[in-house]
Symmetry: C2
Subunit: 378 residues, 2 copies
């Protein structure tokens, strides 16, 4: 729809927090949405120097009030815990900005904690992309390309502001999706925060366990490696995310713990049908997820290639497969050690393609085995 | 040590169950341990035809009694649930075999359920490699190379049999490790069976959840993908493994559920220190595991490359990195869809190497970002 005189059009953007995420948003705003003025404020003056030198921002601001005053849009790009105070401070700038948003990963606590003055100018946001902290030097204009970008307007968010933010996010290259703050937080708890908790719990259980003098940690295989890849990630950041979303997280964790205890009961009772039904349910959801990604589980094969730990090995394997026009649907590496190397696990569609991939790896001198991923018939 | 006249020396090997695992063991026995006679028995006669034609076995047997009679070593290579009956039947062959072993993934229930006659001739085994089911056509002599191979002798296992099995397993290329059956099962429950349970539980929770009409499953990111890669794998096989190891599995699952509920309490109580301590513990165990694999977390960087879903793309990226002598410590792929492609996530040692990898990917036209994996200082 064409913008009305009321619809927000972003000519002046203010970033509070100029890191990788904020910097990427600024670059996308400048290069894709043609935003002429991008102001930056950061507690670390070096980040501002760097951002200005790199053309990420057009103006360096010495205070939140200076950055936010009269801006069309203020985006708060700092760790979750610091967001509410920055939103309040931005809302109090004179003249006030038209709209304030953020990119934090939890929403309910933030929205419900705001003053009514701030809430009138605020629509929460959350792009699902590259959430790890790092410097503005890693900022990039295409970070948001095709990324899901949740917007969580409250009941009293003015429609013209929501429309304007929707258009702005689209112009960055992202796909905006409107969702209530509570629904957003429940979903994020399940798909992002619970996985981190499970990875941490599993890593800790295994790390601390030994039997007959043998430590469990030194007998781990591929499934453990996949499940704990995110274990122990950025402790202070994840502590804050867990607490910020604690209501939703507690609900999900209790449900997970109940599922686990139910399985224990089924095992104790010898209820084989219930246990099988549980695994089948997981299998059918996984199948649905893969189908959503256009992958057909029924024809998916796993090719496990034992490779040494040397530069160039992955290149040789991939080149050989690429030349044979074999498409890789998924892959993961299970490293053992510098001396032993590891297993490169490739997922390939079709039994013939899998057998070819296996032969090609072998021809390079790397032992390989094929196995079927889907549920065997019967 | 030199074999004494008492020490088992394998001249006649009998396989019960000729699939990928059994076939690989047979090939390794023939080619590496120079075992002259390898007999095969399988409920599926086609598997035997195939194994004989491929030179995996030297003799096709029509019954368990025929295969086991007078053999130096019988190896039971069938799904866990069928193992006890096959061990008993092999032990009853006339003349009886000298030693029987298996390659199942759980040990206590098996050993404790055997008759004393069978137990006198049995030492349980479990190689940690390629456990997925598939046909004898995927058998390979080097499957056991450098693999951990648990041997679980009981208190009354004759030393000369244990020594002989140890030597045989070593000759296959594996690394035998003696461990009590109970300790083995507790460790396997934690490092292998619990991860499968957690993957299934998470997949099911997420698959079944929707909020405000949006399904959680369609907002998943990298951490969820890693945690659920094994979700729903081979339901009947995993049901059997869970039940076969249910005592140990229940202990581990209850401990995991208690950890989760303790985190809920800490969140509810606002105990930020306890939550941070928990994540830090996971981080330090993960660091220890990576160090065990000669990877230094303090200098590990993540390079995320957005790639289209096309053959040859991975090849181009890997070749470029290989040519630049950049070693990849770990990698994983997060597929979105055929249309969108996915993220290739590479783990690289050293900030400069990570920045180079990022530039090289970009030079190929694939957007890339770098982020730090370890705990940021301070």
């Amino acid at each position: 729809m064409a913008p009305t005189s009321e619809t927000l059009s972003v000519q002046t953007l203010a970033l509070l927090g100029v890191g990788m995420m904020g910097g990427s948003l600024a670059l996308a705003a400048r290069r894709r949405a043609d935003v002429p003025e991008v102001r930056g404020y950061d507690a670390d003056p070096r980040a501002l120097d760097e951002a200005l030198a790199a053309g990420v921002i057009t103006r360096r601001c010495g205070s939140i009030a200076e950055a936010a005053a009269g801006a069309d849009l203020v985006v708060v790009c700092t760790p979750v815990r610091s967001i509410p105070a920055l939103v309040e401070e931005a809302a109090a700038a004179q003249p006030p900005p038209r709209l304030i948003t953020d990119i934090g990963s939890t929403k309910s606590a933030l929205v419900s904690g705001l003053s009514s003055a701030a809430r009138a100018r605020f629509i929460a946001g959350h792009p699902i992309c590259g959430a790890e902290t790092s410097g503005v030097r890693f900022a990039r204009a295409d970070l948001f390309d095709r990324a899901i970008y949740f917007l969580c307007p409250s009941d009293d968010s003015p429609a013209e502001l929501h429309e304007g933010l929707h258009a702005f996010v689209t112009s960055l290259g992202a796909r905006p999706i409107a969702l209530g703050a509570d629904a957003h937080d429940r979903i994020m708890a399940l798909v992002s925060h619970v996985p981190h908790v499970l990875a941490n719990v599993l890593m800790t259980e295994v790390g601390g366990f030994e039997a007959s003098g043998r430590r469990a940690m030194f007998s781990v295989g591929p499934s453990f490696k996949d499940l704990t890849r995110v274990a122990g990630a950025n402790p202070p950041m994840w502590r804050d995310i867990f607490f910020d979303n604690r209501e939703a997280l507690i609900l999900s964790l209790k449900s997970v713990a109940a599922d686990i205890m139910m399985l224990c009961e089924n095992l104790r009772d010898g209820d084989e049908e219930a246990v099988l039904r549980g695994i089948n349910t997981a299998a059918s959801y996984r199948r649905e997820l893969l189908q959503h990604e256009d992958i057909v589980l029924d024809t998916l094969y796993r090719v496990t290639v034992r490779i040494p730990d040397e530069p160039g090995v992955l290149s040789r394997v991939m080149t050989s497969l690429g030349n044979a026009n074999i498409n890789i649907e998924d892959l993961t590496l299970h490293h053992f050690s510098r001396a032993v190397g590891g297993d490169l696990v490739l997922f390939v569609n079709g039994e013939e393609e899998a057998a070819s991939a296996c032969s090609l790896a072998e021809a390079l001198g790397y032992p390989a085995v094929v196995s079927f991923v889907g549920t065997p018939a019967g």
